[in-house]
Symmetry: C2
Subunit: 321 residues, 2 copies
Amino acid sequence: MKRRDFLTASALAGVATVCGAQRVAAQGQAARDSWMPKLTPPERPAELNLCLQWWAIPGNEMNEKLDFLEANGFAAVEIPSGDWPIKNGEAMIEALKGRKLFLSTACGPSDFSYAEVEKREAEVQKFLPVIEALGKMKSVGLIICPARDKLSEPGRLSAKELRKDFVENTGKRLAQHAAKHGTSIVLEPLRRHETPFLRQVADGARIAADIGPGASVMGDFWHMALEETSFMGAFICAGSLLTHVHIAGLKERIIPGVHPEADQYVDGFKGLKLLGYRGAVSFEGGWPKNPADAKKEIPQEEKIRLIRNMVKLLREQWAMA
Amino acid sequence: MKRRDFLTASALAGVATVCGAQRVAAQGQAARDSWMPKLTPPERPAELNLCLQWWAIPGNEMNEKLDFLEANGFAAVEIPSGDWPIKNGEAMIEALKGRKLFLSTACGPSDFSYAEVEKREAEVQKFLPVIEALGKMKSVGLIICPARDKLSEPGRLSAKELRKDFVENTGKRLAQHAAKHGTSIVLEPLRRHETPFLRQVADGARIAADIGPGASVMGDFWHMALEETSFMGAFICAGSLLTHVHIAGLKERIIPGVHPEADQYVDGFKGLKLLGYRGAVSFEGGWPKNPADAKKEIPQEEKIRLIRNMVKLLREQWAMA
Protein backbone atom coordinates (compact mmCIF):
# COMPACT_ATOMS: atom_id res chain seq x y z
CA MET A 1 0.00 0.00 0.00
CA LYS A 2 1.41 3.40 -0.97
CA ARG A 3 1.44 6.18 1.65
CA ARG A 4 -1.29 8.07 -0.18
CA ASP A 5 -3.57 5.00 -0.34
CA PHE A 6 -2.87 4.33 3.31
CA LEU A 7 -3.88 7.84 4.31
CA THR A 8 -7.06 7.70 2.23
CA ALA A 9 -8.04 4.31 3.71
CA SER A 10 -7.39 5.59 7.24
CA ALA A 11 -9.44 8.70 6.64
CA LEU A 12 -12.36 6.67 5.25
CA ALA A 13 -12.21 4.28 8.23
CA GLY A 14 -12.35 7.30 10.51
CA VAL A 15 -15.35 8.80 8.72
CA ALA A 16 -17.26 5.50 8.86
CA THR A 17 -17.41 5.59 12.65
CA VAL A 18 -18.60 9.17 13.15
CA CYS A 19 -22.08 10.62 13.14
CA GLY A 20 -23.51 13.14 10.67
CA ALA A 21 -22.63 16.28 12.59
CA GLN A 22 -19.08 15.10 13.04
CA ARG A 23 -18.82 14.31 9.34
CA VAL A 24 -19.86 17.87 8.50
CA ALA A 25 -17.31 19.18 10.97
CA ALA A 26 -14.65 16.97 9.40
CA GLN A 27 -15.57 18.20 5.93
CA GLY A 28 -15.45 21.80 7.13
CA GLN A 29 -12.01 21.15 8.49
CA ALA A 30 -10.92 19.59 5.19
CA ALA A 31 -12.26 22.56 3.23
CA ARG A 32 -10.46 24.96 5.53
CA ASP A 33 -7.28 22.94 5.28
CA SER A 34 -7.22 23.42 1.54
CA TRP A 35 -6.29 27.07 1.92
CA MET A 36 -5.33 27.64 5.55
CA PRO A 37 -1.59 27.25 6.09
CA LYS A 38 -0.40 24.24 8.01
CA LEU A 39 1.47 25.93 10.81
CA THR A 40 3.76 23.65 12.76
CA PRO A 41 3.23 23.99 16.51
CA PRO A 42 6.50 24.75 18.32
CA GLU A 43 8.20 21.79 20.02
CA ARG A 44 7.61 23.39 23.42
CA PRO A 45 4.76 25.85 23.98
CA ALA A 46 5.67 29.49 24.53
CA GLU A 47 5.72 31.01 28.02
CA LEU A 48 4.99 34.56 29.15
CA ASN A 49 8.06 35.27 31.26
CA LEU A 50 7.47 38.77 32.64
CA CYS A 51 10.51 40.82 33.58
CA LEU A 52 11.43 44.22 35.05
CA GLN A 53 14.50 46.35 34.51
CA TRP A 54 16.61 46.94 37.61
CA TRP A 55 15.73 50.63 38.03
CA ALA A 56 11.98 49.89 37.94
CA ILE A 57 11.95 47.20 40.63
CA PRO A 58 10.73 48.46 44.02
CA GLY A 59 13.25 47.94 46.81
CA ASN A 60 16.76 49.11 47.67
CA GLU A 61 18.76 45.95 48.36
CA MET A 62 19.40 43.32 45.70
CA ASN A 63 17.47 40.60 47.54
CA GLU A 64 14.61 42.98 48.30
CA LYS A 65 14.20 43.62 44.56
CA LEU A 66 14.39 39.93 43.66
CA ASP A 67 11.87 39.10 46.41
CA PHE A 68 9.48 41.64 44.91
CA LEU A 69 9.79 40.07 41.44
CA GLU A 70 9.10 36.55 42.74
CA ALA A 71 6.18 37.70 44.87
CA ASN A 72 4.54 39.54 41.97
CA GLY A 73 4.61 36.94 39.20
CA PHE A 74 7.82 37.88 37.39
CA ALA A 75 10.04 35.19 35.90
CA ALA A 76 13.12 37.22 34.95
CA VAL A 77 15.23 40.25 35.78
CA GLU A 78 17.00 42.69 33.42
CA ILE A 79 20.14 44.52 34.56
CA PRO A 80 22.07 47.58 33.41
CA SER A 81 24.98 47.20 31.00
CA GLY A 82 28.21 49.28 31.30
CA ASP A 83 30.31 48.12 34.27
CA TRP A 84 27.28 47.03 36.33
CA PRO A 85 27.59 43.33 35.43
CA ILE A 86 31.32 43.37 36.25
CA LYS A 87 30.80 45.11 39.61
CA ASN A 88 27.69 43.21 40.69
CA GLY A 89 28.06 39.86 38.91
CA GLU A 90 29.18 37.74 41.86
CA ALA A 91 26.63 39.21 44.26
CA MET A 92 23.89 38.59 41.65
CA ILE A 93 24.93 34.97 41.09
CA GLU A 94 24.69 34.47 44.86
CA ALA A 95 21.35 36.29 45.17
CA LEU A 96 19.77 34.28 42.34
CA LYS A 97 20.65 30.91 43.96
CA GLY A 98 17.53 28.94 44.83
CA ARG A 99 15.24 31.39 43.03
CA LYS A 100 13.10 30.64 39.98
CA LEU A 101 14.15 33.92 38.32
CA PHE A 102 16.42 33.92 35.29
CA LEU A 103 18.70 36.76 34.20
CA SER A 104 17.53 38.13 30.86
CA THR A 105 19.70 40.83 29.26
CA ALA A 106 21.96 43.73 30.20
CA CYS A 107 20.76 46.98 28.65
CA GLY A 108 22.81 50.14 28.02
CA PRO A 109 24.23 52.42 25.33
CA SER A 110 26.66 51.29 22.61
CA ASP A 111 27.90 52.70 19.29
CA PHE A 112 29.95 51.00 16.57
CA SER A 113 29.50 53.62 13.85
CA TYR A 114 32.77 55.61 14.31
CA ALA A 115 34.74 56.02 11.10
CA GLU A 116 37.99 55.86 13.12
CA VAL A 117 38.92 52.24 13.59
CA GLU A 118 40.52 53.04 17.01
CA LYS A 119 37.22 54.35 18.35
CA ARG A 120 35.35 51.25 17.18
CA GLU A 121 38.05 49.08 18.68
CA ALA A 122 37.75 50.88 22.03
CA GLU A 123 34.01 50.11 22.03
CA VAL A 124 34.70 46.42 21.34
CA GLN A 125 37.34 46.26 24.10
CA LYS A 126 34.93 47.94 26.53
CA PHE A 127 32.29 45.24 26.04
CA LEU A 128 34.45 42.09 25.99
CA PRO A 129 34.75 41.87 29.82
CA VAL A 130 31.05 42.79 30.20
CA ILE A 131 30.18 39.80 27.98
CA GLU A 132 32.39 37.54 30.12
CA ALA A 133 30.63 38.71 33.29
CA LEU A 134 27.22 38.10 31.66
CA GLY A 135 28.33 34.60 30.64
CA LYS A 136 29.20 33.80 34.26
CA MET A 137 25.78 35.09 35.36
CA LYS A 138 24.06 32.87 32.73
CA SER A 139 22.49 36.01 31.24
CA VAL A 140 20.61 35.79 27.93
CA GLY A 141 22.88 38.46 26.50
CA LEU A 142 24.14 41.99 26.00
CA ILE A 143 21.80 44.40 24.21
CA ILE A 144 23.62 46.20 21.37
CA CYS A 145 22.45 49.10 19.20
CA PRO A 146 25.05 49.25 16.40
CA ALA A 147 24.43 52.98 15.83
CA ARG A 148 22.42 55.85 17.28
CA ASP A 149 21.34 58.83 15.19
CA LYS A 150 24.87 59.91 14.26
CA LEU A 151 25.31 58.32 10.83
CA SER A 152 24.83 61.58 8.94
CA GLU A 153 27.46 63.38 11.06
CA PRO A 154 31.12 63.68 10.03
CA GLY A 155 33.38 60.97 11.40
CA ARG A 156 30.80 58.20 11.05
CA LEU A 157 30.51 55.22 8.71
CA SER A 158 27.77 55.14 6.08
CA ALA A 159 24.97 52.66 6.74
CA LYS A 160 26.39 50.30 4.13
CA GLU A 161 29.92 50.50 5.60
CA LEU A 162 28.57 50.05 9.13
CA ARG A 163 26.60 46.96 8.18
CA LYS A 164 29.62 45.36 6.56
CA ASP A 165 31.97 46.26 9.41
CA PHE A 166 29.52 45.18 12.10
CA VAL A 167 28.75 41.83 10.43
CA GLU A 168 32.38 41.01 9.58
CA ASN A 169 34.29 42.75 12.38
CA THR A 170 32.91 44.47 15.50
CA GLY A 171 29.62 42.63 15.86
CA LYS A 172 31.07 39.31 14.79
CA ARG A 173 33.91 39.49 17.32
CA LEU A 174 31.51 40.38 20.15
CA ALA A 175 29.16 37.57 19.10
CA GLN A 176 31.94 35.00 18.91
CA HIS A 177 33.17 36.10 22.35
CA ALA A 178 29.60 35.80 23.66
CA ALA A 179 29.13 32.33 22.16
CA LYS A 180 32.41 31.23 23.78
CA HIS A 181 31.13 32.43 27.18
CA GLY A 182 27.66 30.92 26.82
CA THR A 183 25.76 34.15 26.16
CA SER A 184 24.91 36.34 23.15
CA ILE A 185 24.71 39.83 21.76
CA VAL A 186 21.11 40.98 21.31
CA LEU A 187 20.56 43.51 18.49
CA GLU A 188 17.89 46.09 19.30
CA PRO A 189 16.02 47.89 16.49
CA LEU A 190 15.00 51.46 17.41
CA ARG A 191 12.60 54.11 16.10
CA ARG A 192 13.80 56.18 13.14
CA HIS A 193 14.28 59.24 15.36
CA GLU A 194 16.84 57.31 17.41
CA THR A 195 18.69 55.59 14.56
CA PRO A 196 18.57 55.47 10.76
CA PHE A 197 20.44 52.15 10.78
CA LEU A 198 18.49 49.32 12.40
CA ARG A 199 14.77 49.99 12.75
CA GLN A 200 13.00 46.69 12.08
CA VAL A 201 13.12 43.30 13.76
CA ALA A 202 13.47 41.46 10.42
CA ASP A 203 16.55 43.55 9.60
CA GLY A 204 18.12 42.80 12.97
CA ALA A 205 17.34 39.12 12.47
CA ARG A 206 19.04 39.19 9.07
CA ILE A 207 22.12 40.92 10.54
CA ALA A 208 22.23 38.36 13.38
CA ALA A 209 21.88 35.51 10.87
CA ASP A 210 24.68 37.01 8.75
CA ILE A 211 26.94 37.27 11.82
CA GLY A 212 26.27 33.70 12.94
CA PRO A 213 26.62 32.05 16.38
CA GLY A 214 26.41 34.35 19.39
CA ALA A 215 24.23 36.97 17.66
CA SER A 216 20.48 37.35 18.19
CA VAL A 217 17.77 40.00 17.95
CA MET A 218 15.07 41.50 20.16
CA GLY A 219 11.84 43.38 19.61
CA ASP A 220 10.67 46.41 21.59
CA PHE A 221 6.93 46.98 21.32
CA TRP A 222 7.42 50.75 21.64
CA HIS A 223 9.80 50.97 18.67
CA MET A 224 7.83 48.34 16.73
CA ALA A 225 4.59 50.32 17.06
CA LEU A 226 6.06 52.96 14.73
CA GLU A 227 8.47 50.98 12.57
CA GLU A 228 6.65 47.69 11.90
CA THR A 229 3.43 47.02 10.05
CA SER A 230 2.78 43.76 11.94
CA PHE A 231 3.94 42.79 15.43
CA MET A 232 3.19 39.13 14.63
CA GLY A 233 4.96 39.19 11.26
CA ALA A 234 8.02 40.91 12.72
CA PHE A 235 8.38 38.32 15.48
CA ILE A 236 7.95 35.45 12.98
CA CYS A 237 10.76 37.00 10.91
CA ALA A 238 13.01 36.84 13.97
CA GLY A 239 12.20 33.17 14.56
CA SER A 240 14.58 31.36 16.87
CA LEU A 241 16.94 34.37 16.71
CA LEU A 242 14.53 36.27 19.02
CA THR A 243 16.01 36.22 22.53
CA HIS A 244 14.46 39.24 24.25
CA VAL A 245 11.39 41.50 24.16
CA HIS A 246 10.85 44.96 25.63
CA ILE A 247 7.34 46.18 26.29
CA ALA A 248 5.89 49.63 27.05
CA GLY A 249 2.72 51.55 26.40
CA LEU A 250 2.11 51.94 22.67
CA LYS A 251 0.74 55.48 22.95
CA GLU A 252 3.19 56.74 25.57
CA ARG A 253 6.50 55.11 26.51
CA ILE A 254 5.33 54.37 30.05
CA ILE A 255 4.23 51.23 31.89
CA PRO A 256 1.56 49.28 29.92
CA GLY A 257 -2.02 49.67 31.09
CA VAL A 258 -2.18 53.42 31.70
CA HIS A 259 -3.82 53.79 28.26
CA PRO A 260 -5.45 50.34 28.02
CA GLU A 261 -7.32 51.29 24.82
CA ALA A 262 -3.98 51.75 23.06
CA ASP A 263 -1.98 49.04 24.80
CA GLN A 264 -2.93 46.06 22.62
CA TYR A 265 -0.31 43.32 22.52
CA VAL A 266 -2.42 40.32 21.39
CA ASP A 267 -1.14 40.35 17.79
CA GLY A 268 2.48 40.39 18.95
CA PHE A 269 1.81 37.71 21.55
CA LYS A 270 0.40 35.53 18.74
CA GLY A 271 3.76 35.79 17.02
CA LEU A 272 5.57 34.87 20.24
CA LYS A 273 3.30 31.84 20.69
CA LEU A 274 3.94 30.71 17.11
CA LEU A 275 7.68 30.79 17.84
CA GLY A 276 7.39 28.93 21.14
CA TYR A 277 9.13 32.00 22.64
CA ARG A 278 10.40 31.47 26.20
CA GLY A 279 12.56 34.56 26.65
CA ALA A 280 11.62 37.52 28.81
CA VAL A 281 9.00 40.20 28.14
CA SER A 282 10.55 43.12 30.01
CA PHE A 283 9.11 46.55 30.77
CA GLU A 284 11.30 49.38 29.45
CA GLY A 285 9.72 52.80 29.74
CA GLY A 286 8.94 55.49 32.27
CA TRP A 287 6.34 56.14 34.93
CA PRO A 288 3.36 58.38 34.22
CA LYS A 289 3.65 61.97 35.38
CA ASN A 290 2.73 62.76 38.96
CA PRO A 291 -0.61 64.63 38.73
CA ALA A 292 -0.01 66.17 42.16
CA ASP A 293 3.48 67.54 41.38
CA ALA A 294 5.03 67.22 37.89
CA LYS A 295 8.54 67.67 39.35
CA LYS A 296 8.22 64.64 41.63
CA GLU A 297 8.03 60.96 40.69
CA ILE A 298 4.80 59.15 41.49
CA PRO A 299 4.79 57.56 44.97
CA GLN A 300 6.20 54.04 45.43
CA GLU A 301 2.79 52.54 46.26
CA GLU A 302 1.42 53.91 42.98
CA LYS A 303 4.32 52.32 41.08
CA ILE A 304 3.56 48.98 42.73
CA ARG A 305 -0.12 49.31 41.81
CA LEU A 306 0.84 50.04 38.17
CA ILE A 307 3.26 47.09 38.05
CA ARG A 308 0.54 44.72 39.32
CA ASN A 309 -1.92 46.23 36.85
CA MET A 310 0.56 45.57 34.01
CA VAL A 311 1.04 41.94 35.07
CA LYS A 312 -2.73 41.41 35.03
CA LEU A 313 -3.16 43.14 31.65
CA LEU A 314 -0.34 41.24 29.93
CA ARG A 315 -1.54 37.88 31.29
CA GLU A 316 -5.05 38.57 30.04
CA GLN A 317 -3.79 39.51 26.59
CA TRP A 318 -1.44 36.50 26.48
CA ALA A 319 -4.47 34.24 27.14
CA MET A 320 -6.36 35.94 24.30
CA ALA A 321 -3.51 35.45 21.80
CA MET B 1 -24.88 34.10 33.89
CA LYS B 2 -21.55 35.77 33.14
CA ARG B 3 -19.84 35.07 29.79
CA ARG B 4 -17.14 33.00 31.47
CA ASP B 5 -19.72 30.83 33.30
CA PHE B 6 -21.68 30.42 30.10
CA LEU B 7 -18.62 29.25 28.18
CA THR B 8 -17.66 26.79 30.93
CA ALA B 9 -21.19 25.36 31.07
CA SER B 10 -21.30 25.00 27.28
CA ALA B 11 -17.95 23.25 27.23
CA LEU B 12 -19.03 20.83 29.96
CA ALA B 13 -22.29 20.07 28.14
CA GLY B 14 -20.25 19.33 25.02
CA VAL B 15 -17.91 16.99 26.82
CA ALA B 16 -20.80 15.09 28.40
CA THR B 17 -22.03 13.84 25.01
CA VAL B 18 -18.74 12.54 23.58
CA CYS B 19 -16.93 9.28 24.09
CA GLY B 20 -13.62 8.78 25.86
CA ALA B 21 -11.36 9.12 22.84
CA GLN B 22 -13.15 12.27 21.78
CA ARG B 23 -12.80 13.70 25.28
CA VAL B 24 -9.06 13.18 25.13
CA ALA B 25 -8.96 14.80 21.72
CA ALA B 26 -11.03 17.72 23.01
CA GLN B 27 -8.75 18.12 26.01
CA GLY B 28 -5.73 18.04 23.71
CA GLN B 29 -7.34 20.77 21.65
CA ALA B 30 -8.04 22.86 24.74
CA ALA B 31 -4.48 22.43 25.95
CA ARG B 32 -3.16 23.42 22.55
CA ASP B 33 -5.48 26.40 22.41
CA SER B 34 -3.96 27.77 25.58
CA TRP B 35 -0.71 28.55 23.80
CA MET B 36 -1.35 28.34 20.05
CA PRO B 37 -2.26 31.70 18.56
CA LYS B 38 -5.80 32.23 17.39
CA LEU B 39 -5.21 33.16 13.77
CA THR B 40 -8.17 34.75 12.06
CA PRO B 41 -8.93 33.09 8.71
CA PRO B 42 -9.03 35.66 5.90
CA GLU B 43 -12.50 36.75 4.76
CA ARG B 44 -11.90 35.16 1.35
CA PRO B 45 -9.44 32.27 0.93
CA ALA B 46 -6.22 33.02 -0.95
CA GLU B 47 -5.79 32.02 -4.60
CA LEU B 48 -2.68 31.00 -6.49
CA ASN B 49 -2.90 33.30 -9.52
CA LEU B 50 0.09 32.34 -11.67
CA CYS B 51 1.47 34.97 -14.03
CA LEU B 52 4.20 35.41 -16.67
CA GLN B 53 6.08 38.52 -17.69
CA TRP B 54 5.54 39.61 -21.28
CA TRP B 55 9.02 38.65 -22.56
CA ALA B 56 8.71 35.11 -21.17
CA ILE B 57 5.36 34.26 -22.78
CA PRO B 58 5.69 32.05 -25.89
CA GLY B 59 4.13 33.62 -28.99
CA ASN B 60 4.67 36.72 -31.11
CA GLU B 61 1.27 38.40 -31.36
CA MET B 62 -0.54 39.80 -28.32
CA ASN B 63 -3.46 37.37 -28.62
CA GLU B 64 -1.13 34.43 -29.20
CA LYS B 65 0.59 35.19 -25.90
CA LEU B 66 -2.69 35.62 -24.01
CA ASP B 67 -4.02 32.37 -25.53
CA PHE B 68 -0.92 30.57 -24.25
CA LEU B 69 -1.46 31.91 -20.73
CA GLU B 70 -5.11 30.83 -20.63
CA ALA B 71 -4.34 27.40 -22.09
CA ASN B 72 -1.60 26.73 -19.54
CA GLY B 73 -3.28 27.62 -16.27
CA PHE B 74 -2.19 31.22 -15.82
CA ALA B 75 -4.52 33.79 -14.27
CA ALA B 76 -2.61 37.01 -14.92
CA VAL B 77 -0.17 38.80 -17.20
CA GLU B 78 2.66 41.22 -16.32
CA ILE B 79 3.76 43.86 -18.81
CA PRO B 80 6.83 46.10 -19.25
CA SER B 81 6.88 49.61 -17.79
CA GLY B 82 8.45 52.58 -19.61
CA ASP B 83 6.29 53.69 -22.56
CA TRP B 84 4.94 50.16 -23.22
CA PRO B 85 1.64 50.71 -21.36
CA ILE B 86 1.09 54.01 -23.19
CA LYS B 87 1.82 52.51 -26.63
CA ASN B 88 0.00 49.20 -26.13
CA GLY B 89 -2.71 50.08 -23.61
CA GLU B 90 -5.70 50.24 -25.95
CA ALA B 91 -4.75 47.09 -27.84
CA MET B 92 -4.29 45.27 -24.53
CA ILE B 93 -7.69 46.41 -23.20
CA GLU B 94 -9.23 45.03 -26.41
CA ALA B 95 -7.27 41.76 -26.28
CA LEU B 96 -8.21 41.11 -22.62
CA LYS B 97 -11.98 41.42 -23.32
CA GLY B 98 -13.79 38.16 -22.61
CA ARG B 99 -10.72 36.55 -21.08
CA LYS B 100 -10.33 35.44 -17.46
CA LEU B 101 -6.83 36.96 -17.25
CA PHE B 102 -6.18 40.05 -15.16
CA LEU B 103 -3.39 42.56 -15.70
CA SER B 104 -1.00 42.48 -12.75
CA THR B 105 1.83 45.04 -12.75
CA ALA B 106 4.08 46.93 -15.13
CA CYS B 107 7.75 46.27 -14.39
CA GLY B 108 10.74 48.42 -15.36
CA PRO B 109 13.55 50.63 -14.00
CA SER B 110 13.02 53.76 -11.89
CA ASP B 111 15.21 55.94 -9.66
CA PHE B 112 14.17 58.71 -7.26
CA SER B 113 17.49 59.13 -5.46
CA TYR B 114 18.93 62.11 -7.40
CA ALA B 115 20.05 64.96 -5.19
CA GLU B 116 19.01 67.45 -7.91
CA VAL B 117 15.33 68.19 -7.52
CA GLU B 118 14.96 68.67 -11.32
CA LYS B 119 16.13 65.13 -11.98
CA ARG B 120 13.71 63.69 -9.43
CA GLU B 121 10.94 65.81 -10.91
CA ALA B 122 11.71 64.50 -14.42
CA GLU B 123 11.36 60.94 -13.11
CA VAL B 124 7.98 61.79 -11.55
CA GLN B 125 6.76 63.46 -14.76
CA LYS B 126 7.88 60.43 -16.81
CA PHE B 127 5.72 58.05 -14.78
CA LEU B 128 2.53 60.12 -14.38
CA PRO B 129 1.18 59.23 -17.88
CA VAL B 130 2.30 55.59 -17.44
CA ILE B 131 0.18 55.42 -14.28
CA GLU B 132 -2.80 56.87 -16.15
CA ALA B 133 -2.44 54.22 -18.88
CA LEU B 134 -2.22 51.47 -16.24
CA GLY B 135 -5.36 52.81 -14.57
CA LYS B 136 -7.26 52.55 -17.86
CA MET B 137 -6.01 48.96 -18.27
CA LYS B 138 -7.17 48.11 -14.72
CA SER B 139 -3.62 47.08 -13.87
CA VAL B 140 -2.68 46.28 -10.26
CA GLY B 141 0.05 48.89 -10.45
CA LEU B 142 3.43 50.27 -11.42
CA ILE B 143 6.48 48.60 -9.86
CA ILE B 144 8.84 51.19 -8.35
CA CYS B 145 12.33 50.76 -6.92
CA PRO B 146 13.03 54.09 -5.18
CA ALA B 147 16.82 53.68 -5.61
CA ARG B 148 19.33 51.35 -7.20
CA ASP B 149 22.87 50.99 -5.89
CA LYS B 150 23.84 54.63 -6.39
CA LEU B 151 23.27 56.08 -2.95
CA SER B 152 26.94 56.21 -2.07
CA GLU B 153 27.81 58.10 -5.28
CA PRO B 154 28.02 61.91 -5.49
CA GLY B 155 24.82 63.62 -6.57
CA ARG B 156 22.54 61.25 -4.68
CA LEU B 157 20.40 61.66 -1.56
CA SER B 158 21.34 59.84 1.64
CA ALA B 159 19.07 56.95 2.58
CA LYS B 160 17.45 59.10 5.27
CA GLU B 161 16.86 62.02 2.87
CA LEU B 162 15.54 59.66 0.19
CA ARG B 163 13.06 58.04 2.54
CA LYS B 164 11.71 61.40 3.65
CA ASP B 165 11.52 62.80 0.11
CA PHE B 166 9.95 59.64 -1.31
CA VAL B 167 7.32 59.39 1.47
CA GLU B 168 6.45 63.10 1.44
CA ASN B 169 7.09 64.07 -2.18
CA THR B 170 7.97 61.83 -5.16
CA GLY B 171 6.43 58.56 -3.97
CA LYS B 172 3.44 60.27 -2.40
CA ARG B 173 2.61 62.20 -5.57
CA LEU B 174 2.86 59.07 -7.72
CA ALA B 175 0.73 57.11 -5.23
CA GLN B 176 -1.93 59.82 -5.08
CA HIS B 177 -2.02 59.95 -8.88
CA ALA B 178 -2.33 56.15 -8.95
CA ALA B 179 -5.15 56.14 -6.41
CA LYS B 180 -6.98 58.77 -8.47
CA HIS B 181 -6.71 56.53 -11.55
CA GLY B 182 -7.69 53.29 -9.78
CA THR B 183 -4.26 51.72 -9.62
CA SER B 184 -1.21 51.84 -7.32
CA ILE B 185 2.55 52.08 -7.08
CA VAL B 186 4.13 48.80 -5.97
CA LEU B 187 7.40 49.14 -4.05
CA GLU B 188 9.89 46.36 -4.78
CA PRO B 189 12.60 45.45 -2.25
CA LEU B 190 15.84 44.21 -3.87
CA ARG B 191 18.97 42.35 -2.80
CA ARG B 192 21.68 44.40 -1.07
CA HIS B 193 23.90 44.21 -4.17
CA GLU B 194 21.22 46.02 -6.18
CA THR B 195 20.22 48.63 -3.60
CA PRO B 196 21.21 49.67 -0.09
CA PHE B 197 17.86 51.43 0.37
CA LEU B 198 14.89 49.04 0.32
CA ARG B 199 15.81 45.41 0.89
CA GLN B 200 13.02 43.91 3.00
CA VAL B 201 9.30 43.49 2.47
CA ALA B 202 8.49 44.83 5.95
CA ASP B 203 10.41 48.02 5.18
CA GLY B 204 8.55 48.49 1.88
CA ALA B 205 5.28 47.88 3.68
CA ARG B 206 6.16 50.53 6.28
CA ILE B 207 7.08 53.03 3.54
CA ALA B 208 3.81 52.25 1.71
CA ALA B 209 1.85 52.66 4.94
CA ASP B 210 3.61 55.98 5.62
CA ILE B 211 2.75 57.20 2.09
CA GLY B 212 -0.90 56.20 2.37
CA PRO B 213 -3.51 55.49 -0.36
CA GLY B 214 -2.15 54.38 -3.73
CA ALA B 215 1.05 52.85 -2.34
CA SER B 216 1.63 49.11 -1.85
CA VAL B 217 4.48 46.62 -1.68
CA MET B 218 5.54 43.39 -3.37
CA GLY B 219 7.82 40.49 -2.51
CA ASP B 220 10.23 38.79 -4.89
CA PHE B 221 11.23 35.31 -3.74
CA TRP B 222 14.69 35.71 -5.33
CA HIS B 223 15.53 38.88 -3.38
CA MET B 224 13.76 37.58 -0.25
CA ALA B 225 15.87 34.41 -0.22
CA LEU B 226 18.92 36.52 0.68
CA GLU B 227 17.42 39.45 2.55
CA GLU B 228 14.66 37.91 4.67
CA THR B 229 14.87 35.41 7.48
CA SER B 230 11.28 34.19 6.93
CA PHE B 231 9.23 34.23 3.73
CA MET B 232 6.05 33.74 5.79
CA GLY B 233 6.92 36.44 8.32
CA ALA B 234 7.82 38.93 5.60
CA PHE B 235 4.52 38.42 3.78
CA ILE B 236 2.56 38.74 7.04
CA CYS B 237 4.36 42.06 7.65
CA ALA B 238 3.10 43.27 4.26
CA GLY B 239 -0.49 42.29 5.08
CA SER B 240 -3.11 43.86 2.86
CA LEU B 241 -0.44 46.17 1.40
CA LEU B 242 0.93 43.18 -0.58
CA THR B 243 -0.26 43.54 -4.18
CA HIS B 244 2.28 41.54 -6.21
CA VAL B 245 4.74 38.66 -5.93
CA HIS B 246 7.70 37.74 -8.16
CA ILE B 247 9.00 34.20 -8.14
CA ALA B 248 12.20 32.61 -9.46
CA GLY B 249 14.54 29.80 -8.54
CA LEU B 250 16.04 30.35 -5.09
CA LYS B 251 19.48 28.97 -6.03
CA GLU B 252 19.68 30.52 -9.51
CA ARG B 253 17.53 33.37 -10.81
CA ILE B 254 15.90 31.19 -13.48
CA ILE B 255 12.51 29.56 -13.88
CA PRO B 256 11.46 27.61 -10.72
CA GLY B 257 11.83 23.84 -10.88
CA VAL B 258 15.26 23.53 -12.52
CA HIS B 259 16.76 23.01 -9.05
CA PRO B 260 13.70 21.52 -7.30
CA GLU B 261 15.72 20.69 -4.16
CA ALA B 262 16.35 24.42 -3.64
CA ASP B 263 13.06 25.79 -4.96
CA GLN B 264 10.95 25.51 -1.82
CA TYR B 265 8.10 28.03 -1.64
CA VAL B 266 5.79 26.34 0.90
CA ASP B 267 6.73 28.65 3.80
CA GLY B 268 6.09 31.74 1.68
CA PHE B 269 2.83 30.31 0.35
CA LYS B 270 1.72 29.79 3.97
CA GLY B 271 2.14 33.51 4.46
CA LEU B 272 0.14 34.27 1.31
CA LYS B 273 -2.65 31.95 2.49
CA LEU B 274 -2.74 33.63 5.90
CA LEU B 275 -3.26 36.98 4.14
CA GLY B 276 -5.94 35.67 1.80
CA TYR B 277 -3.64 36.91 -0.99
CA ARG B 278 -5.29 37.05 -4.44
CA GLY B 279 -2.69 38.98 -6.40
CA ALA B 280 -0.40 37.44 -9.01
CA VAL B 281 2.60 35.18 -8.47
CA SER B 282 4.69 36.11 -11.49
CA PHE B 283 7.88 34.52 -12.81
CA GLU B 284 10.73 37.03 -13.10
CA GLY B 285 14.08 35.48 -13.97
CA GLY B 286 15.99 33.99 -16.87
CA TRP B 287 16.08 30.69 -18.73
CA PRO B 288 18.71 28.08 -17.91
CA LYS B 289 21.76 28.03 -20.14
CA ASN B 290 21.57 26.07 -23.36
CA PRO B 291 23.72 22.97 -22.77
CA ALA B 292 24.14 22.53 -26.53
CA ASP B 293 25.33 26.08 -27.23
CA ALA B 294 25.88 28.62 -24.43
CA LYS B 295 25.54 31.52 -26.88
CA LYS B 296 22.04 30.50 -27.95
CA GLU B 297 18.83 30.59 -25.90
CA ILE B 298 17.19 27.26 -25.16
CA PRO B 299 14.65 26.18 -27.83
CA GLN B 300 11.04 27.36 -27.58
CA GLU B 301 9.69 23.85 -26.91
CA GLU B 302 12.10 23.54 -23.95
CA LYS B 303 10.85 26.89 -22.57
CA ILE B 304 7.27 25.63 -22.82
CA ARG B 305 8.22 22.40 -21.03
CA LEU B 306 9.87 24.42 -18.23
CA ILE B 307 6.86 26.73 -17.91
CA ARG B 308 4.50 23.76 -17.55
CA ASN B 309 6.89 22.16 -15.08
CA MET B 310 6.84 25.38 -13.02
CA VAL B 311 3.03 25.51 -12.99
CA LYS B 312 2.91 21.92 -11.72
CA LEU B 313 5.59 22.55 -9.05
CA LEU B 314 4.00 25.74 -7.72
CA ARG B 315 0.53 24.16 -7.58
CA GLU B 316 1.88 21.19 -5.65
CA GLN B 317 3.65 23.44 -3.17
CA TRP B 318 0.58 25.70 -2.82
CA ALA B 319 -1.45 22.60 -1.87
CA MET B 320 1.19 21.69 0.73
CA ALA B 321 1.17 25.16 2.32
